[in-house]
Amino acid sequence: MSAPATQPSEQAFRRRLRWRHGKSKLFASLTITATLVGLATLAALLVNVFTNARLLIAMNATAEAGFAFSLRSLERGHDLFPYIRISQVTEGSSAEQLGVRSGDALIRMGFHAVAKISDAWATVEQIPEGPTPIGWVAGAERLLGDLRAEIDPETSRVTAVLLDYLTPGSAAERAGLQVNDILRKADDFPIQGTRQAWEAIVIAAQQKPTPSSVILEIQRGEQILHIALEAEQQAQIPLNRSFWHTLWFFITEYESPRFAELSGLRSAILGSFYVIGLMALFSVPLGVGAAIYLEEYARRTWLTGLIQVLISNLAGVPSVIYGIIGLEIFARAFALERGVLAGALTMALLILPVVIIASREALRAIPDSIRQAAYAVGATRWQVVRHHVLPYAAPGIFTGVVLSLSRAIGEAAPLILLGAFQYVAFDPKGLKDPFTVLPIQIFTWVGMPQEGRANIAAAAILVLLVILLLMNALAIFLRIKFQKRW
């Protein structure tokens, strides 16, 4: 006797049950994984921003010591040998007192040879604070003197690089070089041009594991000589890493178009506050007013229905579109040019639907019984709104307003069209003054290829995120402080 075919055996049934539960568990872990992946990505973002921004402290330490670097490199065939050029030395800084001048090359930081600016900063970050040994090579004129190239007129190629003038007291003079010596090689680096001669010496010195002389191969008359040139100079320079000092410098300095380490957020922060402040003046009263009309006064007709569709659609229009509109209406038609006021009005347009929606939701949350009670004791509509609805709705409205302001602070796209994408090194005062804002400053920096720009972009992102976090905290605080129960 066997069981009917339609009736599964108990074993099969249990197997099926296990399978179903297994599937259920698998799905559960899948949902958790998805959530964790989302959170992990965002954690990676934050960690990346933090680590990149941290280098700013080291950058600030070298800037404080008086340096501003730019990256150069020597080409030899297909190889590139990078070196750090000291492009600017602050007057009265400890670097200047040591005798470092702009045009010198930094080749050693701590006891490590450094070839890239980021290497130098990374070293500063790791070594202990205080007096730090550095090694540098003086600029071509102070190291050698003037060089002259002899050029074959037919092929227009350099045939020889001659020492035309020897700077008195220079390392070259001490090494015994003479005028009219032909420079042929610095260690293994052949010298093929006047500027390149100095670069070859820099790279040769930089490649030495410890500070030592560079061997120059020169031709004097018919003789080939090898002369040891003490190209590298050494001294100790105080490098102090201070978080607060870095922060203060970063938020109070203007942007420097040439040097990442000397750049600050001053004009961006001021611009953001000007634009957002002005924007709030327009959009908050208008938005809350419109919300009160739509919620408390307007009868429900097809017109209010249409308005509702319009407003929620407006909130979904891409922000860059508002830039085009703002450009056309405010900058052109109202002749406000691409200034603070035009930017603020454009942002007001963008944020208006958000304020209206948030305020309407806050108003809608007030139970009708409160309104009816007020009407019952003879209050007019305005009295109901003023004394009953608004006080209850205030926390909700505040929250909505603060959150929409914080959205506006992070918004970059519309303002790019209104001219905020530019170099501003002054405080905007008038309403037509050019300006820039935080997110656009970040956009500018992210797009720059120089070393250090990514780091200051990360630091600017941190500043922006902290401002947003503070505004969110303010929203929560307002909600708690003004919260009433009914």
Binding site: S24, L26, A28, T31, I32, A34, T35, G38, A44, L45, N48, V49, L286, G287, V288, G289, A290, I292, Y293, E296, Y297, I307, V309, L310, I311, S312, N313, G316, V317, P318, S319, V320, I321, I324, I325, I329, L352, T380, W382, R407, I409, G410, E411, A412, A413, I416, L417, P439, I442, F443, V446, G447, A454, A457, A458, I461, L464, L465, L468, L469
Partner: protein
Amino acid sequence: MPREIIQEASSLQAPRGRYLKERLIRGIFFACAFFAIIITAYTIIIFAMGSAPFFESVSPFEFIFTIRWSPLIEPFSYGALPLIGGTLLTTGIALLVALPLGLLGAVYLSEYASPNVRRALKPIMELLAGIPSVVFGYFALLYVTPLLRNIFPDIQFWNALSAGLVLGIAILPLVSSLSEDIIYAVPRSVREASYALGATRFETVRRVVLPAAFSGITAAFILGMSRAIGETMIVAIAAGMTPVWPPEPLRPVMTLTAYIVNVATGDAEAGAFIWSTIFAVGALLFMMTLILNTISYFIVQRFREQYE
């Protein structure tokens, strides 16, 4: 006797000034609302007028269906298909990330997470939704692209893939928060009925809860899609500025929004023909998002009436 009553009543009447004030205040609020609407109408007029010169010299058909976009370099050509393709490619990649992650995350939050976890994660999600898009652009260009280079060695510095992936992460909080609201709103009784029939959790979610929330989830996804299409900074930073057809994930592309930024950050003179291309591209973008938003809006409106 009646006379006294009438007198009483008239003294009860409020002073006339009070009604005037009421009307005035009503008028002010009406003006606010009216102004907000006027602006909308004005917007559409501006687009129509601004893109008119463009469509006088370029037919809409040529604009949408030809594949060479070269508004700055001669010979000029105004086929926006590379821009549309770039937009759809980044948006598509973004949706491939945001749809599964967003939906599974939403299911976890509303169906599996303990109330405490849910209470903790909800505000975090709202906070994440507020992260400015330049931050994501930075992340795409300087973190995700180098990471992807380990997998695809020939990926370019600017590419659609990393911009699209990060775009997906950027719209994730929106998609998953909206879907979660909708899934959570499915009444408990519906779930319990399913459990009572012996269904497992997965079966309940798949056969009962998700179908019930389907329209709302669709609306959330459409909204996320519209957000991805209109998103500007991420693609402007990380996807590049090269209008190519056909767009490829590992190479730079140019989206509609990136084109607008590109012209705005360039040196194009105001009033030149190049500005009318911005209007045309903007109008196209506006139409695409408007259609999606309206669909989403009506789905939500219809859905709302189901349980109330």
